[in-house]
Symmetry: C2
Subunit: 241 residues, 2 copies
Amino acid sequence: MEKTRLGGHYLEKYDEELEAIRNRVLSMGGLVEEQISHAITALGSGDVGLAEEVVQNDMKVNGFEVGIDEQCSQVLARHQPAASDLRFVIAVIKTITDLERIGDQAERVARMALQLARKDRPKNQYADVVSLGERVLAMVHGALDAFARMDVEAAVQVARSDVAVDNDYESIMRQSITFMMEDPRTISRAMDVIWAIRALERIGDHARNMCEYVVYLVKGKDVRHISLDQLEEAALGKKPG
Amino acid sequence: MEKTRLGGHYLEKYDEELEAIRNRVLSMGGLVEEQISHAITALGSGDVGLAEEVVQNDMKVNGFEVGIDEQCSQVLARHQPAASDLRFVIAVIKTITDLERIGDQAERVARMALQLARKDRPKNQYADVVSLGERVLAMVHGALDAFARMDVEAAVQVARSDVAVDNDYESIMRQSITFMMEDPRTISRAMDVIWAIRALERIGDHARNMCEYVVYLVKGKDVRHISLDQLEEAALGKKPG
């Protein structure tokens, strides 16, 4: 938060409010990470109870979004934050939108886990899907960590790992379509897998968005809609190579 | 905007800035509507040039998002808006996130139009997909209109129409999967259609989000993550019957 402000009771309360928001975003992030983790475990193991729990818990994620948005509005109205504090509040408003949508995608994976639990399981027990899930979970964890530590370098690194996620996704997608063509009886199952990996791929995109807000927060630069190389240059001030 | 403020040079400039933001959101909305419209026309007619234009123009949509976000940050920093003005700025920050993602989905439809243009066309020329596209375009138009006129009643009506969009989507989805099972040679085409209708269905969701921000803006109530009946009651203060 701003280091240049004077102390005093009023400002202490202000700092406390910003700190409370920060902690609540991290709690929301922790819940969302748990949702992803449970959803992919349920998919890999066919654990129906765990999948149902994920579906149930999505409303908790939604509750966080509404509550944190309300806190941000109050801070804006009461304290008129400026400079880096204002960027912090804006970054939070955007981050929790992505976190909430990551929660929706985790719920979607859990719903596909429920569908797949009723069907014959392939020999590999969806190991490739689980591995993609672990990759995107690591991205979300990394993005939250970069946010907590305001670590631009880590944010850039996490954003870069989205490329590997997209590659994994494309590879499972191609394979699923091949299976469908070879044996139309697998179409229904392959479609469930496709929706699950699509949801996981979207989680990677949202994690990348969160990394862009970290750069905005720390550097004051809007780095959306640019290439990864441009992002790295804007964030770290060096040409990647 | 706030009606209770005193006049004067400073506040006139403030009002002008809020009005400029409002107009820019509507311009962004107009561009996004055009993108959806062109994408579904391209898909229905197989017009490759038009589809390519949509893909190209997505960066204009992105540019609007970045520019409006910047204007909002400046207004927050310079004028410390309160009450309904603050809600307006927050509603804009959220609305343009959805508009930008609608733009992404329109681009996705255009990319599927490019894929489908190379393949045999079905007898109905994708009339069902085009009709779904027209429905979601009407939703986006209605949501922008409700925003421009701060019309809560219209916002509720548009949100309600998302149900019909979801039904259309489910119906085309079931049919596509049936076609795939009956004739695996149609799998590749059916998958393109599925990605296109999925993108259109997501546009409907984003339009519904925009309607929720209109209710927040006008009524100061957060109506996300609740049922349509609860939304109507919160927005219009009456039990739907």
